[in-house]
């Protein structure tokens, strides 16, 4: 009922409302849609796969288990309709050789899928990958159903 609202109360109320709105904003942006949060400078590489399996935007990219970046976009090539994955890689890892290969791997039997990079050798004859380059050597995701299918098929043909 006080008529004179003290400055402290006004400030705290302001903070409270700001905090509430920030939480709402964060929920809508960080929890519901992509957006902020990657942090740090990065550069982009591209890779084409036959099949990306369960790979998702923001899936990690690893070399020997160390996260060096994240998948920032997945789309289909306009002409040949093969999946194109955009790799956001931290700027400090910018000396990858052109001989680098990339595979879609699975953590555990049913776990999340990630991109595993196998860095190629570096010497004078091989250039390093420049931002915007395509990684040529790619291996698609293993799809369990296909694997089982192949296994059964080979078993069947082996008996004849």
């Amino acid at each position: 009922m006080k008529d004179m609202v003290s400055k402290k109360v006004e400030l705290l109320v302001g903070l409270f409302v700001a905090l509430g709105l920030a939480a709402l904003l964060m929920l809508s942006v960080k929890v519901a849609n992509s957006g902020f949060g990657a942090g740090g400078e990065s550069y982009q590489l591209f890779a084409k796969f036959d099949n990306i399996g369960g790979l998702k935007v923001r899936s990690p990219i690893k070399i020997g288990g160390v996260v060096i970046g994240r998948v920032s976009n997945i789309s289909l090539d306009d002409e040949d309709y093969t999946p194109v994955v955009t790799l956001d890689i931290k700027i400090q890892y910018n000396q990858l050789s052109e001989a680098t290969s990339v595979a879609i791997l699975t953590a555990g039997l049913l776990g999340e899928q990630y991109l595993g990079l196998q860095p190629g050798f570096v010497d004078d004859s091989v250039d390093t990958l420049q931002p915007g380059d395509y990684i040529e050597d790619t291996r698609p995701a293993l799809v369990l159903e296909e694997l089982i299918g192949q296994f059964l098929f080979s078993q069947g043909s082996g008996e004849e």
Partner: protein
Amino acid sequence: MQQLHYLGKQTLSMISGLGRAVILLVSAIVHVPNVRKGTPLLIQQLYSVGVLSLLIIIVSGTFIGMVLALQGYTILVGYGAEASLGPMVALSLLRELGPVVAGLLFAGRAGSALTAEIGLMKATEQLSSLEMMAIDPLRRIIAPRFWAGFISLPLLTAIFSMVGILGAHVVGVNWLGVDSGTFWSVMQEQVDFEKDILNSVIKSIVFAFVVMWIAVYKGYDCEPTSEGISRATTSTVVQSSLLILCLDFILTALMFVK
């Protein structure tokens, strides 16, 4: 015969109570607030209803998020599905736990305090005194409190869900080793802005309405004695908690079941 008489009497008193509550509600919220005089009153109430509930909301939200992450992880890891920890926590918090638990805490913290405050004002003749000063206590006392609650609870609910998710992130990612990117990305993929976040806000607005209505009505209508106030305070918490849980079921059925 005796029972019938009793039943009739109870029904009548319930209906007249509901009538008084509706009149109170209408006169409290229909008044056009006076900007010059109303704003400081609203700010003062936002402080006592919102800011003072902040601590309990943040602490409970964090712990609930952390517990959800621990429990969720131990279950999900059995299926190798710990990648789904993020959406599990986020959806539980946004759809149900956030609005409901924040609503229950709000009823206990702010609702009971409001009932007691208004009841005490009535018992010490402060409300009568306002009336005799030609100042409408509905406009001066009830309306700002009502609106403050209405604004505060949705904000508190958002804060609750957010700190809950952050708490789950601490447990899931920093302690249990779920990948941070997976945590967020799978969450983002499964949480829908309209379906989950908007509905969370709608639920919290409905609950705010229920808690504030019950709290101010119980205070305004209480018997102006010590027992009357304590009874009114208890029944504010009990009734608003039950109504929150009840309405939550109805709202969930309307929102998520096609």
